[in-house]
Symmetry: C2
Subunit: 349 residues, 2 copies
């Protein structure tokens, strides 16, 4: 296997981008030695933190320290400042674009434009951005195909815990009849706290204090986030062509302690279940609170943990369990996508 | 991605070989259309059922029907009969050798010789045979490397449920600190039956009636099978160099209903746990019955199900759950290995 060196450009440098940067700094030698993967970061561009470009390579450790101390990368020193994300993407320099801007489930922007332009410019793209993949998977894969580049997005579902690669690669020869699981850690944490006796309001407050829930928790508690994820799974893993609005959606805001206790009395637990299945030749998807019997592994996925069960023809049910959020975890998802690209390009044995 | 066509030779045609053959027949068109994978079966050789070779390709459906009706493939009609496994392996015709003879944990034979010779002859090898991988992983990978071919063995651990590919590919950039799990369905079924009130003897008898346990259940109940699997995991996933005899081993034959009940009273379940971990710079491994708290997902893996938890640096714990045995499941493992080879050779996008 040959050692490949890639020029990387970060588009977005928030929690996830910094998570990947930290891993890349820590594992630099190991990645070269064990995986024949070398890299050079040629650009970092973030709408709030500034933009630095240097085709000779940036010092990632220095950038991390700078952003942690000052909140921006404006005072980096060397390199070219002020290029827009699009300008960086369209330069010839980068081989892989790391798209980690924020998720927008209505327009997919600005990530959608970033990914379109990067693929059309012949660059591989790795992303954790759910918006573009939930909204435009088929279109983007078509652009990737035409330009003979990879588009990978492991981190859009279950963060770094293998889900997309598991389904597309490890389960490649299996036929996925349905997918079902817990794909949002915030709501699972709230429901787990409620089982232990907290009210919805108390549980949400704790989740916010611990950083598991946003100040505005709508995306999680009203189930928009799991809807985006099940849309991705339905389209990517099961061959569907669903839109986010096609997915039946019910969040957890109306769940009471009484509901939780009633379920417990029946030997069940209430979980926010995202699922996609086949019905009369069509792919359907839904997210809603469901009573899950204790005989189901999903009933035992507590706290912020996530899990997905793929029901297949040849293997029956295969379940993957792990963390579904976190900067380092999502950063790892991007690394795992880049290592996959490297294996395919380098010809692993 | 180009469509690749492979000549396949089955060395061994028992439960697992027939499981793969059934999948290949059923999915032939799909594999070509969806995965650009075409095949031609040029040989089937089994010590009990006979040996047929035809470089123009054998009719797999006909072979399956023949072996199911008559127990042999001697009356296939066309093709060359009577070649030994070694002769077939050393012919130029096959591209991939499917090694599915029986597991021998003392010598690894005859599988070890088959795999050595196949790799040295420049052929890719896919296998579910635990013996050669548990005993000679490093040596075999070295031969594969020298001859620039793939050796893949997903089915040696957890059958078709992703375990080896999950660890080596999806978790490639993560550092596995330990592996821990339930990797033997027979003993897990017996322990689950005992929790429901059966004695060890009753549970074993039921397992034998259902085909989950062999007439001589020693390999399972004395934990030789899970020892082989944890040896493979320790060496392949964690970089160890353990021998089967280095692994501390205790089976389930001395577990009583009283032990099970005592554990239940403490809110725990007894599971036969296989684990490998790092200690003072060394890799250690052990298989023994352990009390597992109900807060651990492994406590909820019942019946013949298997599960493995990888504890990693960047993702913390990642768990995979699924069936760990069965002809079709193990057959699928071989297919998934071949599809992986095809993706690497064909340059997936």
């Amino acid at each position: 296997m040959k050692c490949m060196k890639y020029n990387l450009a970060f588009i977005g440098f928030g929690n996830v981008g910094q998570g990947l940067a930290r891993i890349l700094v820590d594992k630099k030698n190991l990645l070269k030695k064990r995986h024949n993967f070398e890299f050079n970061v040629v650009a970092v561009s973030d709408i709030k933190k500034g933009s630095i470009f240097d085709e000779n390579g940036l010092d990632l450790e220095k950038l991390l320290q700078l952003v942690q101390k000052t909140g921006t990368i404006e005072n980096y020193g060397d390199g070219q400042k002020g290029l827009s994300s699009i300008e960086i993407i369209e330069k010839d320099t980068a081989d892989i674009i790391i798209e980690v801007t924020w998720t927008n489930l209505e327009t997919g922007e600005p990530g959608l434009t970033h990914i379109r332009k990067a693929l059309a410019a012949g660059k591989h793209v790795v992303t954790t951005n759910k918006g573009p993949i939930a909204l435009a998977y088929r279109e983007l894969m078509q652009i990737a195909k035409v330009h003979n580049v990879f588009l990978r997005f492991e981190g859009t579902v279950l963060s770094g815990t293998p889900a997309i690669s598991l389904a597309l690669e490890d389960l490649a020869g299996a036929y996925v009849k349905s997918v079902r699981g817990i794909v949002n850690g915030t709501t699972n944490y709230i429901l787990t706290q409620m089982e232990a006796g907290a009210s919805y309001e108390e549980a949400l407050e704790t989740a916010q204090k611990l950083g598991y829930a946003e100040a505005d928790p709508t995306m999680d508690v009203e189930a928009w986030d799991p809807v985006a994820k099940i849309t991705i799974l339905a389209n990517v893993v099961m061959g569907g062509d669903l839109k986010v609005k096609d997915v039946e959606r019910r969040g957890i805001t109306s769940i009471t302690i009484e509901d939780i206790k009633a379920a417990q009395r029946e030997g069940e637990r209430i979980k926010l279940i995202a699922k996609a299945w086949r019905e009369n030749g069509e792919i359907k998807a839904k997210v809603s609170p469901e009573k899950v019997p204790l005989t189901d592994v999903l009933a035992h996925i507590g706290g912020t943990l996530n899990a997905l069960t793929f029901d297949t023809d040849v293997l029956k049910e295969v379940t993957t369990v792990g963390r579904g959020a976190g900067g380092v975890e999502a950063g790892y998802a991007l690394l795992s996508d880049m290592l996959a690209i490297n294996r395919y390009l380098g010809g692993t044995r």
